[in-house]
Symmetry: C2
């Protein structure tokens, strides 16, 4: 089955981007010179300015401290305000300290929490109502022109991958690699953040709209993705000694400033971001011979880098 | 941007599948009874017969022996005959024995071979011509009705995920999780199989048609995906002691029968496969509340199981 609309769509999108971009990002040259080579993603980032980046907000940033190091997670209160508030309360109550990474299912998720599900939640709630999706209204989405297998519209809101369906006026976070969600039982309202999972493989888009996503890993993903896979059903570890202990989970705002990991992330509401996405859509590095001219919303990890030093983006 | 064609396409596909499937796979009941619950993927597999499965061909199967165990790789001579023949020759010459896993880039690839690129290749070739794509003609594709971000058509040929473009009469293997390819330098003809990589993250579809894929991991993927990520550029290990040694890479046909891993894989040219894909497209397990009604070609790992015992599929 062919999709005859795609080529024109992509062509129009490319044109629109070219018109939108400032000359520096188009690689424009004075009249008479040969047209310049299109920029690579690295070149777009190298040409970015401080205004193209945004520092992480300590009050919406979690530090998951593992024996191997720190995982930095950015929370998404625009999409899951009650879950985010509950995870913040759990972190403030040191709920996760001494608990475990208890599940690692290959090409799917790594999950952590209380294997017995009985640890008191203190001032937090054991469960909160489902936040699988939200109204589309009020969101400013940087839309992708590319067709998506699963949703009518995809793109980014701030640094989060999102999908939307204008016909029903709804939007939701997308299960891309590194996205963090709240495990639940069969009851839709049985989650709440006491068990958290992170996507470690091909985007399990069938989970979209079926479970609450509440954030994404900004750095340290490589500490989670290498967890030995569990041999039990669903990748749960069969023996307690196989679990990896959690030293602590803290809100960055509750950590002394000197001990914070100061990161900034690429904003997605700028011409620089459009140029970056276009450079990833059609790669012009010498190695590439046939540019894809398409980009899956889960195939554009948002660059992050140490704050304030103009360091290389990861 | 909306994609108005999608809902009708999916609906038609569902109808076509329903008409194609035998009653047992539709869950049909005698007239007058309530319509049955649609089958889950596990139920479709449980109802499969021996004819729905195919044993791996030892002459097209590789065993990558790592300290942690065996990785089983199925080769794809239909798509990369020269690369497959060359890798078979390299395996017969014990080329990979004593070499290393030398690269692990998070959410991308794990790669193995000779870090110095100088080990003699014996009767094999150092490089063979690019096999990025092939003629569409002669292939029997089990097509997916779902829209794909990157290609006009996607589906499976045998147990391999493929994309195709009828307008140019070409088809190619798709970079899904677990697919194995031949690393190359900037010259398109600089690969050949002396360096092999496997996808360990979100499908890097921008690599499609830019590099030769020659197989896929059938079992043991969890031994590769947990490799510590390299801290050098592109995930290369910066220190030799960080590399994981390769004990050997052998063609299964060259291994004594008693030492083989006898696996069978789900055929993709059967009504059972269509039912299985449909069960993964719209999941009816109790946990799911909003069936996706779509399926990415990279979101359907082909089931494999021990041969001949009717054991549970992995």
């Amino acid at each position: 089955m062919s999709h005859p609309l795609r080529a024109p769509v992509a062509a129009c999108a490319g044109l629109a981007l070219a018109l939108l971009l400032p000359a520096a990002l188009r690689g424009a040259t004075p009249a008479g010179e040969a047209p310049p080579k299109p920029l690579t993603g690295a070149q777009v980032l190298a040409a970015s300015t401080a205004a193209d980046w945004r520092a992480l907000d300590p009050s919406n940033t979690l530090y998951l401290e593992l024996p191997a190091g720190r995982v930095v997670i950015e929370l998404a209160p625009l999409f899951a305000p009650h879950h985010v508030a509950n995870v913040q309360a759990l972190a403030r109550g040191h709920y996760f300290d001494g608990l475990w990474i208890m599940r690692a299912q290959d090409n799917y998720v790594v999950q952590w929490g209380d294997p017995d599900g009985k640890k008191p939640v203190g001032a937090a709630h054991r469960t909160v109502g489902a936040e699988f999706e939200r109204p589309l209204r009020g969101l400013s989405i940087t839309r992708f022109p590319d067709p998506d297998t699963y949703a009518p519209d995809v793109g980014f809101v701030d640094t989060f991958p999102v999908a939307a369906d204008a016909a029903i006026g709804r939007a939701w976070l997308v299960h891309c690699y590194g996205m963090v969600g709240a495990g639940r039982d069969n009851d839709v309202d049985s989650g709440g953040g006491t068990e958290l999972y992170v996507v470690i493989g091909q985007a399990p888009r069938h989970l979209d709209r079926n479970v609450t996503l509440l954030g994404r890993v900004v750095s340290g993903m490589e500490l989670l993705s290498v967890m030995p896979r569990g041999s039990g059903a669903l990748g749960f570890y069969e023996h307690p000694e196989q679990r990896t202990p959690i030293k602590s989970l803290r809100l960055a705002a509750d950590v002394p400033a000197a001990q914070r990991t100061e990161l900034e992330v690429l904003r997605t509401d700028t011409p620089t971001f459009l140029a970056y996405a276009e450079a990833r859509r059609s790669r012009h590095e010498e190695w590439f011979k046939v540019p894809a001219a398409r980009l899956d919303v889960c195939n554009l990890p948002i660059p992050a880098r140490p704050r304030g030093n103009g360091g290389a983006a990861k």
